[in-house]
């Protein structure tokens, strides 16, 4: 019985000092474990060299009306298209209600440069490169781009019109450094 009295010596309000020590020790170990897991998870994120925002300069002087080129920025394909007047008119004719991701052509181009449609060539569905930038490729039901992987159709303003992709082709950040040179990034 003496030993029991000794064991109960530290009890106040039914809480033993040992319970407190147990909980404190395990909690502290838990905090330590989380602190160790953080860098182990974070190492998977894009590294500094990948993140270093490279900017790409593109000479657009050689792209005739109705033509497009494919270039790359941050290792992602970029489409630069010189829209024809008919394509601009067609893009402006589409009612906003018909669009899954409602945006006007003006919102997707720079003021006064409405014929220059610059987008990432990355389908917003699962990331394939859509067709339509090169001569003779399938441009889909809406005359813009067509992604053959899962059948997404983009219109002349590269807006999603049909198929599984949720949003329009992404317009990357860019500036016209002169009339013939564009800097992306």
């Amino acid at each position: 019985m003496a030993s029991e009295t000794e064991l109960n010596a530290g009890i106040e309000d039914g809480v033993r000092r040992r319970d407190f020590i147990n909980i404190a020790a395990v909690s502290f170990a838990g905090v330590g474990a989380v602190a160790v897991v953080l860098p182990l998870v974070n190492q998977m994120n894009p590294s500094a060299d990948v993140l270093a925002l490279s900017s790409t300069e593109i000479d657009i002087s050689a792209i005739g009306t109705g033509q497009a080129i494919k270039t790359s920025w941050r290792k992602q394909p970029v489409f630069v298209r010189n829209l024809t007047a008919a394509e601009i008119a067609e893009a402006n004719r589409v009612p906003m209600n018909d669009l899954r991701d409602a945006q006007t052509l003006a919102e997707r181009t720079k003021p006064g440069k409405e014929n220059w449609l610059i987008t990432l060539g990355v389908c917003t569905h699962l990331g394939c490169v859509p067709l339509g930038a090169a001569e003779g490729e399938n441009r889909g039901d809406f005359g813009g781009y067509f992604c053959p992987c899962h059948g997404s159709h983009y219109d002349t303003a590269a807006r999603i019109r049909k198929g599984p992709a949720p949003t329009n082709l992404v317009v990357p950040p860019y500036e016209f450094t002169s009339d013939t040179v564009v800097t992306i990034g």
Partner: protein, 426 residues
């Protein structure tokens, strides 16, 4: 575990006696796959596929470890290092093609193993845990196979990685950061290839661990059998060794014949020619399809082409594809019929075969471009797949009148034997 009449391990030689006292490993083997493990006497050849799947995993691990000695996981040289293995490394062509086709063989035997489980009701009580662990193994296999396919860094490797990591970008808000976290960049690149190689090397050993749990869980109730009737007494069983070691050995011979036939005579039959073009991040192959074993799930992904109930088509496709596998975790509770074997389930048997046809249809649609009529066929196939598990199975298992069943495995075997005899004399 095991039955009370299981033979006991009795080492004869002094060395084995000594070993048994210190580390009873021979005892473990004896009780797991030796004469000390009683198994139903009526197993048919569909019961070979578990052992064959284990053999396939061992082939993958051995050939994989060898390939890793010659392969270089860097986007600059990965493609060429695989060519180097095929052309320059001594017997490299054989090891590489064995690994490549070994993956297909692994999936073939696992799909037949799952088919067996579905037909004979092996997923039901008391073997639910065996089934659940099996689904975990299946998921791990899919992850491993996908990452392995990325390693040669051909066009299909690259675009497969792009599309499959793209699934995660469908998750609202956190999707794109999650995708970048998985890739370690904005597109599949060196960081992606390196981590996939690391994980592709790790996961087979995780699979091996889960397989041990799978077998452990199996050995508590023991194997199911073609009648679905539980073992009642010693008459119903035979020792695993030599009866099933011999039967599995025969099956293994057939398996190896098919495997070497594929590897030696038609090693690229199940692959895609595009993967012999080095990865190009600026050009998607005209027609991208996954490896054959993912096709039914890929068809379900592609079946969603329209937004529906505030959720966009992309997210629906991804949810449906993952759900089509996650659904299997609930199977033991969706099918409430106490009768296991389809032999005694006249109604379920029909729906089972329709499901098999449906999965084959989905697999075929998965190969086709995203155009009509394939889209509508994938949609019908996908709807039926979910309907089978969520609607048909729960209803059938309640309304079905099972056929009269024999009292025991022995009775079923002897009745069959008597039938054969009378047929022979008539």
């Amino acid at each position: 575990m095991s039955f009370p009449w299981a033979k006991n391990y009795e080492p004869q030689q002094p060395l084995m006696k000594w070993l048994d006292e210190k580390l009873p490993l021979p005892r473990l083997v004896y009780n797991a796959i030796g004469a000390g493990y009683p198994v139903p006497r009526n197993l048919n050849y569909f019961w070979n596929f578990g052992v064959l799947a284990g053999a396939a995993l061992m082939i993958q691990i051995i050939t994989g470890i060898i390939l890793a000695m010659h392969y270089a996981a860097n986007v600059g040289v990965a493609f060429n290092s695989v060519e180097h293995i095929i052309r320059d490394v001594n017997a490299g062509w054989f090891i590489r093609y064995a690994h490549m086709n070994g993956a297909s063989m692994f999936f073939i035997v696992v799909y037949l193993h799952i088919f067996r489980g579905l037909y004979y009701g092996s997923y039901k009580a008391p073997r639910e845990m065996v089934w659940l662990l099996g689904v975990v193994i299946f998921l791990l296999m899919m992850a491993t196979a996908f990452m392995g396919y990325v390693l040669p860094w051909g066009q299909m490797s690259f675009w497969g990685a792009q599309v499959i990591t793209g699934f995660f970008s469908a998750i609202p808000i956190v999707g794109e950061p999650v995708r970048q976290w998985l890739l370690g960049g904005f597109v599949p690149d060196n960081a992606t290839l390196n981590r996939f190689f690391s994980l592709h090397y790790l996961l087979p050993f995780v699979i091996l661990g889960v397989i041990i749990l799978h077998i452990w869980a199996l050995h508590i109730p023991g194997s199911n059998n073609p009648t679905g009737i539980e073992v009642k007494d010693e008459q119903d069983t035979v020792p695993f060794h030599p009866y099933y070691t011999a039967k599995d050995g025969f099956g293994l011979g057939i398996f190896l014949l098919v495997f070497v036939g594929l590897t030696f005579f038609s090693p690229n039959m199940l692959g895609h020619a595009d993967n012999y073009i080095p990865a190009n991040s600026l050009s998607t192959p005209a027609h991208i399809v996954p490896e054959w074993y993912f096709l039914p799930f890929y068809a379900i992904l592609k079946a969603f082409t329209f937004n529906f109930l505030w959720i966009d088509a992309k997210l629906w496709g991804v949810i449906a594809m993952f759900a089509s596998i996650a659904l299997l975790f609930f199977l033991p509770w969706l099918d409430s019929s106490p009768v296991k074997s389809s032999t005694y389930r006249p109604l379920y048997r029909w729906f089972f075969w329709v499901l098999v046809a449906d999965v084959l249809l989905l697999g075929w649609c998965g190969m086709q471009p995203a155009e009509q009529p394939w889209v509508i066929l994938s949609q019908i196939g996908a709807i039926y797949y979910f309907a089978h598990f969520l609607i048909i199975l729960p209803i059938v298992s309640r309304i079905e009148r099972p056929l009269p069943m024999p009292n025991s495995i022995t009775e079923a075997v002897l009745a069959k034997h008597a039938d054969d005899k009378s047929a022979a004399t008539a």
